[in-house]
């Protein structure tokens, strides 16, 4: 229809010509600017991802000349592989304990920060410092503090307690690694929560004061429900980042003792870059991808819901 109208309309020739060249100029600008990024995303993100799917269906050792197609056998062996199952289970612990711990601590500190008038900036900076520092450095500092003859054990001894094995203890190590990760992520969590708290209109609290509500009622009936979108948003972000825990594990425990701190990502790293089992490792990354994909779907479903009060 619009084409027809355009053809039947008699417009002065000159303006029409100028219109076309402007349009051409615009398209030249658009496509020449998009060319490099599109090539980048195709060749560095999307095609490699498809390639990984493909590698996952092969027995692919980096040194052997042949990479035979093996169908789903990498996947079936993964689910019979004790280390992988252990890694899967541990990753669940990392996510569950890590996310809940980080959210609760973040909430406590930001609620405390909200109540003070002075030094807010100073406190915020202090809690934020670990977030900007290198995870490798933090891991080694914590390893040093938790050493057999490190400061924490010395303090325990001086207080009359027994020495602890900490990172060498299969029951303690995972929680200490999680603690180290939380230590680094806490500042980010606090900044996000503080921003969310600031968005809650003061009038709700004033109304509650008039009604004679106590502190706990205000927290559970006003603050937490109104902060809910922020909580869900950061829970998703934290889940995805705990799912991908690697740096602290590589530097603090190397997955041990007895695979007790092993995660999916660390196992992928071992398989691919120490045992060079690219096919098997790729299959494991596909499983990681599916987990993240499901979480993202959940995120889109929950976060696109409108929160109205």
């Amino acid at each position: 229809m619009s084409n027809l109208e355009l053809n039947t309309k008699v417009e002065p020739k000159r303006t029409k010509k100028r219109h076309v060249t402007l349009k051409q100029q615009k398209y030249i600008f658009i496509y020449s600017c998009l060319f490099v990024p599109v090539v980048f995303f195709l060749s560095i993100r999307l095609l490699p991802m498809l390639y990984t799917f493909n590698v996952g269906f092969h027995e692919w050792k980096i040194l052997s000349p042949e990479q035979p197609f093996v169908g789903l056998s990498n996947y079936t062996s993964l689910f019979q592989d004790e280390v992988f199952l252990r890694a899967l289970q541990n990753t669940g612990i990392y996510v569950l304990v890590g996310v809940i711990g980080q959210m609760i601590l973040g909430l406590i500190v930001s609620l405390l920060l909200q109540r003070v008038n002075r030094f807010v900036g100073l406190f915020r900076v202090i809690y934020f410092i670990p977030y900007i520092t290198s995870a490798v450095a933090i891991s080694w500092i914590f390893k040093w503090i938790l050493m057999n003859n490190g400061i924490l054990n010395n303090i325990l001894l001086n207080l009359g307690f027994e020495k602890q094995l900490f990172l060498q203890d299969p029951n303690q190590a995972i929680y200490l690694v999680i603690g180290t990760i939380i230590f680094q992520g806490l500042g980010f969590q606090i900044v996000i929560f503080l921003a969310g708290l600031e968005n809650i209109p003061n009038m709700f609290y004033e109304a509650a004061d008039i009604d004679g509500a106590n502190g706990w009622q205000k927290l559970s009936k006003i603050t937490l429900p109104l902060l809910n979108p922020t909580i869900v948003f950061s829970a998703v972000i934290a889940t995805i980042s705990f799912l991908q825990s690697f740096t602290q594990i590589e530097n603090m425990t190397g997955g041990g003792p007895l695979n007790s701190t092993m995660t999916i990502v660390y196992y992928i790293y071992e398989l691919a870059f120490q045992k060079f089992e690219m096919g098997y490792a790729s299959a494991a990354t596909v499983i990681l991808f599916l987990i993240i994909f499901l979480i993202t779907l959940f995120q889109m479903k929950v976060l696109t819901k409108r929160f109205d009060y």
């Binding site: 615009k26 900076v125 900007i132 520092t133 790293y269 994909f293």
Partner: protein, 270 residues
């Protein structure tokens, strides 16, 4: 009376928390100035403070080279991300053209791909093309960021079309409009993006660990990780290395903390 006690408790808890957050850094600095014999003492201030650990680290290892590598890589990557992400974000926000939706959805969908899934093909690519152990090899996965494009698009959308059209009527070229009209409108978001990109690349570990082979090409985190595991038990040296890799960034952060925290809020909430 009751109120004063309550606020004292709040300050007390916050201060205790701050000390817990600061202690690892204090202990790191303290250990780095200790003699090997004193390392296992509990003194926060060393009895005989020494700078010999730093001299050793700077003299015997390539820490300064690693520092320089990290700096070069973080700066180049950040510049590249800033240029491409703003440009693509601007085009996706302010123009309509055939293929726009496909391109947008394709870029957005890459956000879901975990890096771990890509490192295997990246590694194969790098061996194939000879990118292993080079700056380009370390940098190439991060020169454009999908998150940044998404972020810049969000902010570019709020620029009024009339402003851009006015510039067009004045005869400005499209690229000129982008540089002189659009970018000044999104400066806070752009600086937040640069900060994130710099931090991310400065602290990146997994990919550099895989693609770097020679000692001289290491970045600071990779260098520190290798150095530390090769010198287990020499905690005073490890902590001196950690201090070198942590303190400069903390100082920069203290200078720009207001903008950085604002940037986190700005981008984190989008």
């Amino acid at each position: 009376m009751k109120k004063g006690w309550k606020s004292f408790l709040v300050y007390f808890l916050l201060t205790a928390g701050s000390l817990i957050m600061l202690f690892p850094f204090i202990w790191m600095i303290s250990t780095s100035f200790k003699l090997p014999l004193e390392v296992f003492t509990l003194d926060i201030i060393p009895e005989n403070p020494t700078i010999q650990n730093y001299q050793k680290i700077i003299g015997d290892t390539l820490f300064l080279k690693w520092f320089l590598n990290s700096l070069i890589i973080a700066i180049i990557t950040t510049l590249s991300v800033a240029i491409f992400d703003t440009l693509v974000g601007y085009i996706l926000a302010k123009f309509s053209f055939p293929g726009k939706n496909i391109i947008f959805v394709a870029i957005l969908s890459t956000l879901m791909i975990p890096t771990e899934m890509l490192v295997i093909p990246w590694y194969m690519m790098s061996t194939e093309f000879g990118w292993v152990d080079s700056y380009w090899g370390i940098m190439f996965p991060g020169v454009i960021s999908a998150f940044g494009i998404f972020l810049m698009r969000q902010f570019m959308e709020s620029i009024p079309d009339d402003l851009l059209d006015a510039a067009r009527i004045d005869g400005m070229r499209e690229f000129g409009i982008f540089v002189k009209v659009a970018i000044p409108q999104v400066r806070p978001a752009l600086s937040a993006l640069c900060i994130f990109s710099f931090l991310g690349n400065w602290n990146a570990f997994l990919w550099p660990l895989l693609v770097i082979e020679s000692t001289g090409m290491r970045t600071l985190p990779v260098g520190l990780a290798f150095f530390s595991s090769e010198n287990q038990e020499y905690w005073e040296l490890i902590m001196a290395g950690a201090t070198i890799s942590v303190i400069p960034l903390i100082i920069v952060f203290l200078f720009f903390q207001k903008q950085i925290i604002k940037g986190i809020v700005l981008t984190g909430m989008k």
